[in-house]
Structures are given as structure tokens and as C-alpha cells.
Symmetry: D2
Subunit: 291 residues, 4 copies
């Protein structure tokens, strides 16, 4: 792993105050990142983990198609929402448990690990019965009882940064998971809300990657799909995320983005995803990592 991206020069590093308010999340000193295992996968090791799949599970066929395609291109985790937090109550809300069953079937057929979002405390046991990694979404980053409830399943947790959350708030939300006794926690930067949303849906905040690495031992995933909202920005921002020190990428892939029930504008086709992976592989190698 390159010293450049993840290890600031000792002389330049500001003295760390004696006690951070996020004492379990805080960086205890070198080495920088404490790897988190999820089944056979390791987040925060030499290999960059790639999570790929559709925004929502829409049908059995759709998720199986995508699963085979992203696995062939090198992804090792399948994403897909069964319970979808949607701004409007009139938008597609996900297939619920049916979607979870399709995800489980995709895992069985491809060997991919499954990550999916849990939106509410009352759904934790249900979702935990299917998922390998529980995702806490941006809107729920500070749903503290949900965090604790999810933590107690013992499953690995991926905590997305709230679109309006400061890094301090994100690390303190992480602390809720850690303090509940679950240290299999990874963070996910997915873009913040600023004053400008004309050319990007959100502002993917890559500064957060070296900041979190400096403050904390937690592995960091970057999601350039939600982070930018436009397919033509995914390749450069994914490459930039790796250079900034990201441990994993989360990429939306849909067999037919124009007909996607959600987030079509930011979803790559399976072919475009394969091209992305091919383009990123030498980048990862130049950083001393594999993809």
C-alpha cells in the first residue's frame, strides 16, 4: 500500500489531542487501518474491494443478471436495495422480503457476498437473516437506536455518511456501533450536499478519505455513483478515490439503466462496469494494491 495516500509524513501530522470524543473509532497510532473481515473478504487490506449492483432489486432476473455480470468483471460484493428509503411515498419502495430472497439466490449462484440496507429497527432481524453486510443509509446515519440494533446482530456494518453530516458526527455515529460491541464497521463516503447541484447530484467529498484515515482506524468505501450522480464522472472519481486512499468502491450497475426504477442516470451498464474495472486495475497496481 502506498505511503503517499495513506500515511502522512510524521513531521507534518498534527499532534493528536489526548482524547477524541470517538474513543473507540479513534486512530490508536500506526498502522493506519485495522482491517475488517466479512466472510472471506477483507476491507482495509491490500486488495481493493469492489461492491457493485443495482440501486434496487427490481426482479429475480435483473438481480441474477447483474450478479453474474459484476462477478465476471471482478466485483466480490453484490449490492441491491430491498427496502428503499425514497423521498416521496409515491415512489417505488423496494420489493421487501421478496427482494431479500432474490439477493440470497444471487449469492448462492455466484458466491458474491450480499450488502443491503436496513431502514428501520423493526426490520433488522429480517434483513440480517439474508445479508452478509448491513448497510445503514445516509438518511439514517443518526438513527441511533437503529445503529445499536444493527450492531447487535454481529454482522459487519457499512455506515454511509449523512449528506449533511460533518466528519465528526459521522465518527460519533460510528462510535454508537462500536460502543454496542460490534467492531466490524466500515464507513462509506457517498457525497455531501452543498450549494451546487447542477453538474453533480452530490459533491463526492474525497477529503473525507484521508481525514478519516488520519482520525480513525476504520476502513473507507467510496461510492462515486451516488457521490456524483452521473455515469461520465464515475471513472475519474473512482480513480481519484483510490489515489486518496479508499479501501473499497461501491458502484451502481444496472442491465438497462434507462429503465431502472431508481437512479438510472448514475448506473453503469455491465459492459461499462467491465471497462471501468479494466481501467482501474493498473491504477490500483500503481498504488501497490490489487483490485
Amino acid at each position: 500500500m502506498s505511503a503517499l495516500a495513506t500515511a502522512p509524513a510524521p513531521a507534518a501530522a498534527p499532534a493528536r489531542p489526548a482524547a477524541k470524543p470517538y474513543r473507540l473509532a479513534a486512530h490508536p497510532g500506526r498502522p493506519a487501518t485495522r482491517p475488517v473481515r466479512a466472510g472471506d473478504l477483507v476491507f482495509g487490506g491490500e486488495a481493493i474491494v469492489v461492491i457493485a449492483g443495482p440501486c434496487s432489486v427490481e426482479s429475480r432476473e435483473q438481480i441474477l443478471d447483474v450478479a453474474h455480470a459484476v462477478r465476471a468483471a471482478g466485483a466480490t460484493v453484490l449490492r441491491g436495495g430491498a427496502f428503499k428509503p425514497r423521498t416521496s411515498p409515491y415512489d417505488f419502495q423496494g420489493l421487501g422480503e421478496t427482494g431479500l430472497r432474490y439477493l440470497a439466490e444471487a449469492r448462492e449462484r455466484t458466491g458474491l457476498a450480499i450488502i443491503t440496507e436496513v431502514m428501520d429497527s423493526e426490520d433488522v432481524d429480517l434483513v440480517a437473516g439474508y445479508a452478509d453486510i448491513l448497510q445503514i443509509g445516509s438518511r439514517n446515519m443518526q438513527a441511533f437506536k437503529l445503529l445499536q440494533r444493527a450492531a447487535r446482530t454481529g454482522l459487519p456494518i457499512m455506515l454511509k455518511r449523512g449528506l449533511q453530516a460533518t466528519i465528526r458526527e459521522w465518527l460519533l455515529a460510528a462510535e454508537y456501533v462500536l460502543a454496542a460491541g460490534n467492531d466490524r464497521l466500515i464507513l462509506c463516503e457517498r457525497g455531501i450536499r452543498t450549494f451546487d447541484a447542477e453538474y453533480t447530484r452530490n459533491c463526492l467529498d474525497l477529503n473525507a478519505v484521508p481525514v478519516v484515515k488520519h482520525e480513525s482506524h476504520l476502513p473507507v468505501v467510496v461510492d462515486p455513483s451516488h457521490g456524483t450522480g452521473h455515469t461520465h464522472l464515475i471513472a475519474p472519481m473512482a480513480a481519484a478515490a483510490l489515489a486518496a486512499g479508499a479501501d473499497a468502491l461501491m458502484i451502481e450497475v444496472h442491465p438497462d439503466p434507462e429503465r431502472a426504477l431508481s437512479d438510472g442516470k448514475q448506473s453503469l451498464t455491465p459492459d461499462a462496469f467491465a471497462d471501468l474495472m479494466a481501467g482501474l486495475r493498473p491504477r490500483a497496481h500503481a498504488l501497490g494494491r490489487t483490485l
Copy 2:
């Protein structure tokens, strides 16, 4: 130059509407970036240009020392403020014309090109008598008469993005320079203001790099020193900027950062700058560029 960072896949590129409001700045189609010459230098070519130097010119000795050091490490442009826009009237305001003379002497002794800020229309002729490239600072991005006045000198112009400016406003400010008949224009991303300023002084917005490349033919400089405000974030964000497609970097270097009259916390020592350059060189090569 790598296709990955700067050239979105044709299939993914959204159709461009017939007429952009910034018609001179707008991207006319491939190739992506139209290089801008400044003396022997080319912004937007294969070679990454590195601009380095102190925030302010503080003394003859200081600027000559830094000039020699950054040149030895591979920089080709020397930065240094003689007229400093400062939030408070009681802060150091720069050495004025004396500072310009020191910069000119540094150019003579090192061969580095000089970039320095012009803050006011009434200073344009004075500053243009010394500088190789005129910098328009963030606070003046929409000082439209200053833009026109600076453009008419015929010198290359570097236009920093305002800390609250949308990308559309930035490109329209660029249009003022182009419409005044000066097409030697480069843009500089230097961090935007968001809701979080605890761990970073500004939020370096790397999304702006591929967005500007997609919208416009103008070369893009990235300034991770102002953009992050902390020395330990400069290396990872500089690497990320290159991966995102930046054509140049602007880095603050000071012989004694702790005694700097401005921006000490974000200034590298000459040694740390040399380390940064050594670390970035293989990164640039992996992207098919030189540094």
C-alpha cells in the same frame, strides 16, 4: 494521457445541449483540453505543471530560498503574493511592488515563471509589469471589470474558483476573460465552503475537475494547499487530483511554515515538498503524464 481520467466513455456522455451560456469556454468536442502556453510552459499538455511557493512574499531572502528549493524539486512556476486579500484590515497585506521586484529577481536567478495575484483594477498595469501569469483570486472571481482589465494585458490568466461559486458561475466568469479577447486562460479549483470546516479549511472539490473537462476546453489547476488547509492532506489530495484529470498542481511551500505571515498550517517545508514531488512522479507516469 489516460483516457480514464479525462475522457468519459462516449456512450456515457450525456448529449450536450445546442448552446451553452459560456459559448467560448464550452467544450467544442474532442480533444478534450486545449493547451494554454505561458512562455515555455504548456498547461493542458502531457506534462503536469507544478506551481509552488509561499502564500506571501515576505522578504527577498525568503522568496529566493523557496525559489531555488522548489526549482530543484521540479516546480516550473513560482507563486507568491505581493498584494494579499486578507479578511481583516489589520492582517499583513503584502509587500506590494517591493514583493513584485523580489519575485522578478527570483525569476532571473532560477528561470521559474512567476504567478502572482492582482486584486484591483488600478493595480493591473503594475502587476502585469512583473508577472508571467496573472492570478485572479477566489474573492474576486466575479469582479468582472477586474477580469476584463486583466484579460486585456494579454498575459495568461489563472482564475481561481470562488469559495461559494457554482461551476456555472465559474465558467461564466471565465467567459468574461475569453470574451475580452484573451484565450490564455486556466482555471484553478481551490476548495469550496461547505457546512464542515473542522478537519479541512475548505472542501477541495475534485468533482470539479472532470466536470470542467466535460463542459469546457480549459486546463485545470488544483490547489490542495488552500483546498484542504492542512499539510498532512496535501499528498493524498494531490495524488487524487492527478487521478481525476488535473493538468497542474499549486502547492504552498515556505522555508519556515511556523513563522509564515499567512497560511503556515498548510505550507510544506522545502524538504516535504521534495518528498511530495518524488511520491507523485510515479503516479503521473502511471497516468501517462510527466511531472
Copy 3:
């Protein structure tokens, strides 16, 4: 009720598009606001409703003292958190059900209605057993299942705006409650997060009041305590809220602000609250309302 604050001149009102995405929350035409009843209280009628009390229920004595004091000064609803969403897991999290019991006792002794926050779906039945009005807090504005769960209790709901939620998102969150069959819904503006937090904790967005009145039939509460974070700003911003058309105010009052377990800097003493009420009363009358 004054036409000035709440009724834009017909000529000036922009044509409303045929269908708003928030079709149940949307303004159906005049009269502007559809009153919401909560026991004997009416939100959105001629009388301004005043909700007052401490941030958190800290002890039986504390809440009973405050309840008597705010009732004497003219408040009709008692606020007090029993389940507190706190940024850090190490901060005081509220007294839970014990706090709810103290609130119920305060109601019994004073006749005040009780509003208190429910943070999680699994707590809805418990909290609904004690509260007269359920509060959904800023951090949970888009916890959609919690909104639906709370709506189904049939109790009046007060939905606080998320601290970086757009007005559209807020109205769509409201739509989740309405679409779940509960039309006893009131909105609460409590300050948004911007780039400046030096002199105010949040930026109380009074523009939201006439905007919501123009877009929707829902009554609007304004919370200048959270909205500004400083006691010396509460009086002028409460007065401004009434002038902008607010139907109710929510004010933090604590018997000993300096010893408060949360939000002391923004809590008024009982005496200062009585002064505030006395100062606001003629203001309300000048607007054709009572307090």
C-alpha cells in the same frame, strides 16, 4: 389574522402547477391554513400556541417546576425529551420511560398538553401511551417507517425539518404521514445548517414559514431556541416568526440553564420566559392574533 403575513396578494402568487408531488400536503386554495386540533388546542387558528419546556426531562422536580412556570406565563403545551437523540453515545440519552411518567404527572398537575420525541419505531407504542403530540426530530425527518408507524397511532404529529432538508423534502416527508391516514400534522422549522455557525448554532429559516404557507395547508411552528442556539436571539426571532406568519412557537425553558444536561446555552429561565411572553403578546395582537 393579518393578510400581510399569511396571504400573498393574488396577483403576485405564481401560478401553481397542476400537480404537486406532495398532493395531500399541497395547498388546495384559500383559506391558507387548515387548523389541526390536539385536545383542546388548535394549531393554525387565531391563537398562537406556545410550547415550552426543557430540552430533556432531567428529574421529577425539574419538569414539575418548569411545567408550573410555563403554564403561569401562558404556555399551553409542555415539551421535554425522554428519549434524546445525541450526537455522541457518551452523552446523556434521556430518562426513557421514567421521563415519560414525569411528563404525564406534569400534565395531570397543570393541564398542559405533552409533546415529546419518539426516535425509533420500536418505541412508538410506548411513547404514544404518554404523549398528546408525537414529535419527530430533525435527524429522523426522513426515517420513513418511523413516520408511518407514528402516523398510525392517530396522535397529532409535529414533524421537525431536517437540518439540511430542502422544503420539498420536508413536505414529502409530511406526505408520508398524511398518506398513512393521519392528517393531524404540524410542521416545525428549527434552523438549518449553513456555512456559518459562529454566532448562531443554526440558521433559523423564516423564509420557510411563508413558503410552506404558500405551498401547503399545514400549520407551522417555529423553534427559535434550537434555531439560533443563544438566549439573546430568541426574543427578536420569535417576534419575527410571528410577523412571518408562524402559528406556534416552541421555546426551551429550564429552571437552571447553566446546569442543564443538554442545550443550556439556548434555554431561558422561567423569568426570562415570562418576560418573552409579555413582550410578544402585543406583537401578536398587532397581527390580529392572540397569544
Copy 4:
């Protein structure tokens, strides 16, 4: 003048640190606001000053018509831009000196004082030859040499808050004017840029009024026209501004808003302006002020 809006209770006021960085702008203690004279007018006295007129001077007839109309309705200062800072170089840039001459004629015929913007140091002497009050616009709030140059004319200065300027930065920009020897300075809140611009062009930040009153002795103008961008929001926000403690209002009025060359959507017709004034007058009286 009402104690409620402008004078926080002594007990509630936080202790002021010994030295503010804006030492000339800082509040020296009671009484709150130090009035500023501009000819016969007083900003910061009992009478609320009303500034009205079009965004841009478009023709002799237009400005004379508006001048007579706003004077009849009770305004005492005429606004109108002759030099217009426009985001695009292809938009109407103002009539320049011709516009200034029309403004001077309007003053002669109506007795209204004239306020108009100066955008650039090189125009200061020209604009000062016509204006009674020099306006520094939002985009130039930190054009420090322009501030100093304008200050030296000795004319009253109205300094608009930058659209993403913190209150501290605004007060420090004010300090540049005061430190240049001109204490006839008034501040103008005109809306800030946030993450939400769907229903309001800007977010009129009324918190700034009591904050500036608490920090400084400078009178404060509020501009609800730019601040909200929509005519139907002007009346409630103007009323709220007075309640928050504003000393003056700035209102855009155009004889034919739909044909305005700039800012038509936020301009009142002369009739609507007369209605606004009639509606505000009892509000001002209820606050112990006149309009």
C-alpha cells in the same frame, strides 16, 4: 424603538470578550445602534428608512416613473443600478454614466436620495459624482481596495453581505471602510446561499439582524427582494425583518416587472409597493417606529 427586537435582556447577553477583531465595528455598549446620516435621512433612528426602485436603470422614463411612484408611497431613497454585476458577460450590463444621469434627474424631480452600486475602483470617482450613498454589492464584499477607495469619498456606504460570507467576514469587511476613516457605514442583509434554492432565490438570513445589533453599532438594512427572489414572499419577510430589528428596507419596484431587463420575478409593481407600505406602517408603529 421596541426593546424586544433590538435590546437583548442584559442577563441573557453573553459576556463580550475583551477585544473583537473588528474593533471599530464592535458594539461599544449601549445604546445599541449609532445612527448614520445621509443628507436629511437617518439610518438607525426611530424612522424606518425605505429604499425602493428598479434593479437596473433601463431608461429615463422608467426611472422617473418609478421615482415618482415610490416617493408617493413613502420611500425616501431611490435605488437603481447603472453599473450591473452580471453573472454572464452577455447579459445587460447597465447604462453606465447615462444611467447615473437619469438617477440624478430623478433626484432633482422628486427629492429622493440616490443609492447606486459601484463595482470597480476605477469607477469610484464617477459614481461618487452622482450618488448620495454608494452601494458595495454582494460579489464585491471582499474587494478590499474598492472598499477603501469608496470609503475615501466620504460618502455614506451601504455594504451588502456576500452571499456566502460569514457574519464575521462581513463585519471585518465593514472594518476596512471604518479603518479608512469613513464611519457613515450601513450594512445590508440580502440573503445567503444555502443548499435549497427551489422556493427562494436566496435564504434571507434574519438571524443576522439581531446578531449584528449585538456585535456592532452599525445600522442594518434588509433586502427581502433579493433575499427571497419572489414577490409573494416580500410582504411577510419585510414584516419579519422589522420585527427582528431592521432599521431600513430595500425593495425592488419596477413599472412593468415582466419586461424588466433584470430581476423581474422579484420586483413589485408600484401599486403592490404602495400596498406593502400601507400594510407595514401599522407594524412599524406597533414596534414604536415610524415608516
